[in-house]
């Protein structure tokens, strides 16, 4: 064996086909050894790719050898580039996360300052770079006609600052006096109540039109419920959710 290039596929056959295409060698002429058999896995969860190593014998043309060298080189370059980038991002995030959170807290405090409202901010870091900011006002109420609209506007500006200006890659969920948390609870309870009705009566229920973020809560709340399914119907931002008995139940 002089040189080897590893090809991957869902199966040995697929890996061979890819190799044949890339190297321009007819399928039957490829000499190879199996690096990994590959496995189908369970529901695609533990699946493993099949790997073969193409072996070049004396008989191969220089053209094929060149092609393989080229591919190997590209692979190396790609690995290097990827590592560099990951490292860069990690460093950036480590340095900036807490700094960004402090800047965002100052930004929010300053805005509430214009309202003469003093606040406490609770910070909770969650997975996927998302951060919960729970704002608690001391005494005074926010003079907004629609508190939810105000919270979403503040959240929008906060995320604009965190991402367009500070380029942090963090997403902030903003809440004031647990208004959003309570709303989410209400929606979850509604979803559960209606799903029980649907299951009992065997007929569909249509909810009132809701914004995407509210519908998401209902879809998620019933995602693992075997007895009902949810779908959105309608046009534009405000669609209605229909909760109906799932097919398996009906048959």
């Amino acid at each position: 064996m002089i040189e080897g290039k590893v090809f991957e596929g869902k199966s040995i056959e697929e890996a061979l086909e890819i190799a044949s295409k890339e190297l321009n060698i007819p399928l039957k002429d490829i000499k190879y050894e199996i690096v990994e058999e590959g496995a189908k896995g369970f529901l695609g969860v533990f699946s493993k790719k099949a790997k073969i190593k193409v072996i070049l014998g004396e008989g191969e043309t220089n053209q094929v050898k060149e092609k393989i060298n080229e591919l190997l080189e590209n692979e190396l370059k790609f690995d290097l580039k990827e590592n560099e980038e990951t490292k860069f991002v990690e460093e950036k995030e480590n340095v900036n996360d807490d700094e960004v959170i402090e800047k965002i807290k100052d930004f929010i405090r300053e805005i509430f300052g214009f309202f003469d409202i003093s606040i406490n901010i609770e910070v909770r870091k969650r997975r996927n770079n998302s951060i919960n900011l729970s704002i608690f006002t001391k005494g005074a109420q926010i003079p907004a006609k629609n508190l939810e609209e105000f919270i979403l506007a503040l959240q929008f500006l906060v995320n604009k600052l965190a991402n367009v200006k500070l380029k942090s890659g963090l997403f902030f969920n903003v809440d004031i006096n647990e208004f959003m948390a309570k709303k989410i609870d209400r929606l979850k309870n509604l979803a559960i109540e209606i799903s029980k009705k649907v299951r009992k009566e065997g007929k569909s229920y249509t909810l009132k039109p809701m914004m995407p973020q509210d519908r998401r809560i209902i879809h998620l709340a019933l995602k693992n419920n075997k007895f009902v399914k949810t779908e959105s119907k309608g046009d534009g931002d405000k669609k209605r959710i229909i909760i109906s008995p799932s097919q398996s139940k009906m048959r």
Binding site: I111, F114, F115, A144, F150, L154, L157, K160, V164, K165
Partner: protein
């Protein structure tokens, strides 16, 4: 106070805060607040589908409620 609020938020979001200029034309019941930013920042302050401008107006509306006024935000090119 309304003017300063708009100025603070605008300056926080743009690349050229020194070029942010806000003027307030105070009426008896309504204030018109004019916001000027650097040409390069105009897109940032308006946002996709005017979302940033809308958020800014929502915050401004709440602040003007507090002082029993109505405020209109104009973004000037």
């Amino acid at each position: 106070m309304l003017k300063e609020l708009v100025e603070f938020i605008a300056k926080s979001l743009v690349d050229y805060p020194e070029k942010v200029k806000v003027t307030e034309i105070e009426g008896e019941k309504t204030s018109v607040i004019e916001l000027m930013v650097a040409k390069e920042d105009l897109g940032k302050i308006i946002g996709k589908q005017g979302k940033t401008a809308r958020a800014l107006r929502t915050i401004l509306a709440a602040a003007s409620n507090k002082v029993n006024k109505r405020a209109v935000l104009e973004i000037i090119e």
